[in-house]
Symmetry: C2
Subunit: 383 residues, 2 copies
């Protein structure tokens, strides 16, 4: 049998299997209180439902694909998606051409909008499940930034034992979201507090503080937002995605945290990590100021190369961990033949640095990859 | 001229005036980042806009009225409401019969759903405006409840100075939402932290802690949710809206707060207030356990009568303040000739109790009444 014929048969078999929808749908954990829809089945298909009696067309828009929904006699539309990866996905409904949130789901900020999100059950979901363990707190914090000239909003997680040890000082992780996201990402769909509560309860991580700020909205009276370039044009001179946030970190955020929380205020007790754009910011800021963070993590956002490290005096001496992670599907589908990050990270490890390369199984550029990256990274921090 | 004719002319004049829409619309403060719509003009009319090229009908649904929107050549629908009261309002869009959140707005929990909300500018909005003053923190707190047998979620606000005074103990206000709402209400649309930060910064309130829990979802393995009665039926034996929450307060929530925060753990430093259903809970719990709270507030949720107080041994002796408030439109439109709460409260004051009756100008059973009530109540607490 030719290879092509075999491939064809496998594809057909896959298609036939996926066409048989298993009727074991259950309400998603991310639904609004009391709502039955959206649902997910054991094949990880998402089924949405909405009453729209006068609509001509309703679609479920998830994972970059729009799935037609079907209307019943009562004007209620129902439809399901192809199987999704385990974990969290942004989605919306399209009603007669209007893209709107699903009134059945809770809402999350990502893809540059507050809108619907759904958690598809995962084999390893226990690590981010809410349990009866000692819980830390995730506080909404407002602080004045001299860099932006405005009052900014961030989240600060303190571990469960923080209140019980009034004389103990803690290390701090600065944890950044991706493009089109905000400080809400790690606090909500990232499940940061829950993941750390569980890790600390199991003795797998040392207790530390996590600061989640907004790395995209770095504007205010003192740093006006640049004019939006015309459609399809790139901003003149490129977009400085790390400089303004570095200023905020160095001049306002870190000083505020170190003045208000019981923290060990040195680089050995300070980490930075981020996903996607937040990883690129971590990369740029760690190279620009190598004495700021001794522990760095990039989740789906690039690597540190041997050359970069060699050309950055102090980085090697000061660093305790370089953690690099990707979803397996990101590695399988690298755009434009981008260099493989695994050997690059291994090269760095061979120069004597403490490097970890983690691959999230069967996930893409999505939150399940980043929840798992945090889970892995947190266990290695400040040890 | 007959009275009826004069009334008719006045109504017509009002209608003509309101039909002249002032084109000074500005994006609402409650919009998603970067969104222009919805907007509000100086007449407090709300203008919504959404692209729905294939829709037959799009409506703006606010304040119990659905306003037709109009489609332009590009398939974008625009329409505005009649003038709204100052302050916060829930709303949604209706697209070909589907009731959905407006993708332009931020989302709030109320009317038993997460959905769109809009803040209409108010003459007195300064008291709940975010300013460059010392800010307290509003923390998301998880705690285990023995009453429900589950991990519960609440918000706890600590004042700005809380971290600076490691030996100082603070009084606590337990502050409850209304029916169809949740712990998110006071923390978000209620703007509790912002209001208290501003009051403390101006020296108008003493710093205190605020605990905002969920008084509707009081269920879990140890207290199963009662079966939903058939449509139009009332639950057998009536609905006990205060008992389970009182159990949670006494057995789990207050002990958790007093074990984890620096609080003065006696009734003289403990207050309870609530809006609507939360006010009814405050009323019921304060009469059931008069030694729990010395300061009580009911916002749009009833009164304490002289008879109730007389029949509750210990209430009078232990109480420091009975605060009762309503929106002026609630008083103007009392259902079924309900008794006027003002003379009832004045009667109680004449018996020697410290009573305050506050009326929010030109507002109804809505958040602007309750923000103002909190602003007034907070200035009188723990003094």
């Amino acid at each position: 049998m030719k290879k092509n014929t075999l491939m064809m048969m496998l594809l057909l078999a896959t298609f036939t299997l996926s066409a048989q929808v298993k009727e074991d749908f259950k309400p998603a954990s991310t639904n609004q209180p009391g709502h039955q829809y959206p649902m997910v089945n054991s094949q990880r298909m998402v089924r949405a439902q909405i009453s729209a009696p006068d609509a001509k067309s309703v679609k479920l828009d998830i994972g970059g694909v729009k799935y037609d929904m079907v209307k019943n006699a009562e004007g209620v539309w129902t439809g399901e998606s192809a199987p999704q990866d385990e974990g969290f996905h942004y989605y919306q409904l399209e009603i007669d051409g209007a893209s709107v949130p699903d009134p059945g789901s809770l809402y999350y900020y990502g893809a540059s909008r507050w809108g619907s999100g759904i958690d598809v059950p995962a084999a390893d979901e226990d690590f981010y499940a809410l349990k009866n363990v000692p819980h830390g707190e995730t506080a909404e914090v407002y602080y004045y930034s001299s860099v932006t000239g405005s009052v900014r909003h961030c989240y600060i997680y303190t571990p469960a034992e923080y209140k019980k040890n009034p004389d103990k000082k803690y290390p701090v992780l600065y944890l950044q979201h991706g493009g089109g996201e905000s400080e809400h990402g790690w606090a909500q769909q990232g499940r940061t507090g829950i993941i750390l509560d569980n890790l600390v309860a199991e003795g797998k991580a040392v207790p530390f503080i996590v600061v989640m700020d907004n790395g995209s909205d770095v504007y205010g009276p003192n740093n006006p937002r640049p004019e939006r370039p015309a459609q399809g044009q790139r901003p003149r001179g490129g977009f400085d995605f790390a400089g303004p946030f570095r200023n905020i970190l160095e001049k306002d955020l870190i000083p505020m945290v170190e003045a208000n929380y019981r923290v060990v205020a040195d680089s050995q007790h300070r980490a930075m990590a981020g996903l996607s754009m937040g990883g690129m910011q971590t990369h740029a800021i760690a190279l620009a100021n190598p004495k700021l963070f001794s522990w760095v993590g990039i989740f789906s956002g690039g690597v540190f190369t041997v050359d970069e490290v060699s050309q950055t005096p102090g980085f090697r001496e000061n660093n305790k961990l370089v953690f690099i992670s990707f979803g397996s599907r990101e590695l399988a589908n690298r755009f434009g033949g981008a260099a493989d990050p695994k050997p690059i990270t291994e090269e760095l490890g061979k120069t004597g640095m403490n490097t970890v390369f983690y691959v999230s199984p069967d996930t893409a550029h999505e939150w399940q990859s980043w929840r798992r990256a945090l889970y892995q990274f947190a266990q290695r921090l400040f040890k």
